[in-house]
């Protein structure tokens, strides 16, 4: 008796890659601007990677070469050089790495804290809620940049200090919006059910409520990314942000316009273009996320 291999019909399960590709295509078709934003973010991310693995980069961002001071864009130096003869493209790439690191860390820290405090504030209500709301009001009655500047002056210079200053500034906004979301979410039947079977407060807050407010949270967090980039750039521009020699887009613009408007306009144009580009990317992508997940938030972020 011969055994023959029986061909078992295989139901082709789409691979993870193809599912993601499909999801991405659907997303792009519905939200071309969101897809454009995502592309802009990815472009800067690839640029930032060159800082660590230089592929599209010939020069070290911190090496000064006085023989090529203030030369315009050329085949050698794609975007020209600055007053110390440093390659502007290399500095922009370094700035990309720094901006992305600072923004993502600050938002993770700030929005994460805002989320936790917002859940606590909205869930418990009462005195705790009042205290948090008062605090938010107080924090929001001074301009964000002023708070960040004050914190920077107290903390002293440093990349980690910039991250802290921006994170602290973004807590109140996130807290307030997340609290509002929790107030409506906690009225759901599943929360009552969890309470009925004896779920503890932390369990209800973080196993039942938190997963159900992830969509608005991610929308707010993405929206905060653009703000964090602008915040870092502004702080560095004002001289209280990222200290030298780290290449920062904001600091590259300090004193550049009046001094180099005639002799080296590229020093003014390119760093600002980079900031606008990435902030635009984050904003477009954030808006698209909001339209897909939670159109009710429109206008709030």
């Amino acid at each position: 008796m011969t055994t023959e291999a029986v061909a078992i019909p295989q139901v082709a399960r789409p691979s993870r890659v193809s599912r993601y590709t499909k999801g991405f295509i659907t997303f792009s078709a519905k939200n071309p601007t969101g897809a454009a934003g995502l592309f802009m973010i990815l472009f800067i991310a690839v640029l930032a990677m060159n800082y660590f693995v230089p592929i599209f980069q010939r020069y070290d961002p911190n090496v000064q070469d006085y023989t090529v001071r203030l030369t315009g864009p050329s085949g050698m130096h794609w975007l020209g050089t600055d007053e110390f003869g440093r390659d502007l493209w290399a500095r922009l790439v370094g700035g990309a790495a720094l901006s992305m690191t600072v923004a993502i860390s600050a938002v993770t820290l700030g929005a994460g804290t805002g989320l936790i405090l917002g859940i606590i504030s909205g869930y418990f209500g009462g005195v705790i809620d009042d205290l948090f709301q008062r605090w938010v009001e107080i924090m929001q009655s001074m301009p964000g940049i002023l708070l960040a500047l004050t914190l920077m002056s107290v903390f002293g210079p440093g990349i980690d200090k910039v991250i802290w200053a921006l994170a602290i500034g973004s807590i109140p906004r996130t807290l307030r919006i997340m609290r509002g979301t929790v107030l409506s979410t906690k009225e759901n039947v599943y929360v009552e059910a969890a309470r009925a079977i004896g779920g503890t407060h932390p369990r209800i807050m973080f196993r039942h409520i938190a997963p159900n407010i992830m969509a608005p949270f991610l929308i707010i967090a993405t929206g905060n990314l653009g703000g964090a980039i602008l915040g870092e750039a502004s702080l560095s521009f004002l001289g209280l942000g990222v200290p030298p020699p780290h290449p920062s887009w904001g600091r590259m613009l300090t004193n550049s316009a009046a001094n180099y408007a005639i002799s080296a306009p590229w020093m003014v144009i390119f760093p600002g273009l980079a900031i606008t580009w990435i902030v635009l990317g984050f904003n477009l992508f954030g808006d698209a996320l909001r339209d897909v997940w939670d159109p009710r938030l429109r206008g709030r972020s």
Partner: protein
């Protein structure tokens, strides 16, 4: 109405006390000894300094007293118009604020005015031409200008002015009444920059609320009874769209106040922003805390004005 005003004033006092206390604590608790920093002995913890001199410095600054005494003394000075003295040069702060205030105030007002003048029409045109090319252009303009850092926009304006006309906006202190032309030339560019980001938010909000209002029954009624389209738009659509727009505008006002700090740096305007910035860089903490108070007061007053505007726009809102 009078009761409403009184209640609002009473309500903002805790906020003002809160914000100043917060800043006071951040400033005093975190960085250690100010006297040490001023004498330049921060690195080795004051080991190389004369203890007597250090004690004298602390006494001069008043930092030898307990924190709550320092805070209460400072607050007690407010009604008398005493905001404290600069740590750096021992000058009283209020006169300095009074000299610089008009410039910053004028800049903020000009920014709000130019921003509203740009944003409202942009949003209206967008909403009334929904889906057409002009709507697309207006929206893209708004989105891009929201993403543009204001200091870079300021620098670009300087760059263009210098390169094309070899013209640099005047710097220094130009009072509105003494030299209106110079004052205007100095402030119009930063006002335009601040106004453009403001205009973008206003345009986006105007567009979305107008689109909502255009679908309301009372608009159909207004059209059905034969009102001219312009009357419908101005009297019915615009007036009913303004509440959310004003809310957004007031939220953005803090951004304008913060923006004046940056713009005064870019265009070298000796207003409150530059004063604050210098104090922060020099770690002149008494000035910083006083300036936070001033900025918070300005913010609170702006919000108050917005509340009054709500009542004017929507008669259903009454003040008790």
């Amino acid at each position: 109405m009078r009761n409403f005003v009184i209640r609002r004033v009473v309500e903002v006092i805790p906020t003002l006390l809160g914000v100043t206390l917060l800043v006071f604590l951040i400033i005093r608790v975190v960085p250690g000894d100010i006297a040490l920093a001023l004498l330049g002995g921060g690195e080795d913890g004051g080991a190389s300094l004369d203890p007597a001199e250090l004690a004298k410095m602390r006494k001069l600054l008043g930092t030898d007293r307990p924190l709550y005494v320092q805070y209460l003394t400072w607050i007690a000075g407010w009604p008398k118009g005493d905001l404290g003295k600069s740590l750096w040069n021992q000058q009283p702060i209020l006169p300095e604020v009074a000299t610089r205030f008009p410039l910053t105030f004028q800049l903020a007002v000009m920014a709000v005015v130019t921003g509203t003048m740009m944003g409202l029409p942009l949003g209206m045109v967008s909403a009334l031409n929904r889906g057409r090319f002009i709507d697309f252009v207006a929206r893209v303009t708004a989105i891009i200008s929201q993403a543009t850092p204001n200091f870079w926009l300021g620098l670009l304006i300087i760059l263009v002015l210098v390169r094309t006309w070899n013209y640099l906006p005047p710097t220094g202190y130009n009072k509105l009444w003494d030299d209106p032309s110079k004052n205007f030339q100095q402030l119009i560019w930063p006002a335009l920059v601040l106004g453009s980001a403001y205009a973008a938010s206003i345009a986006r909000m105007t567009r979305s609320t107008m689109l909502e209002v255009l679908n309301e029954d009372y608009i159909r009624t207004a059209r059905a009874k034969g009102l001219a389209e312009s009357t419908v738009i101005i009297r019915h659509v615009m007036k009913n769209s303004m509440i959310p727009v004003i809310t957004i505008a007031s939220l953005q006002f803090a951004g304008i106040l913060g923006g004046t700090v940056i713009m005064e740096r870019v265009f070298t305007i000796p207003g409150l922003g530059l004063f604050t910035l210098n104090a922060i860089t020099q770690r002149d903490y008494t000035v910083v805390q006083a300036m936070v108070l001033i900025f918070a007061i300005k913010y609170v007053i702006a919000n108050f004005a917005v509340d009054l505007m709500y009542g004017w726009l929507d008669p259903r809102i009454s003040y008790h």
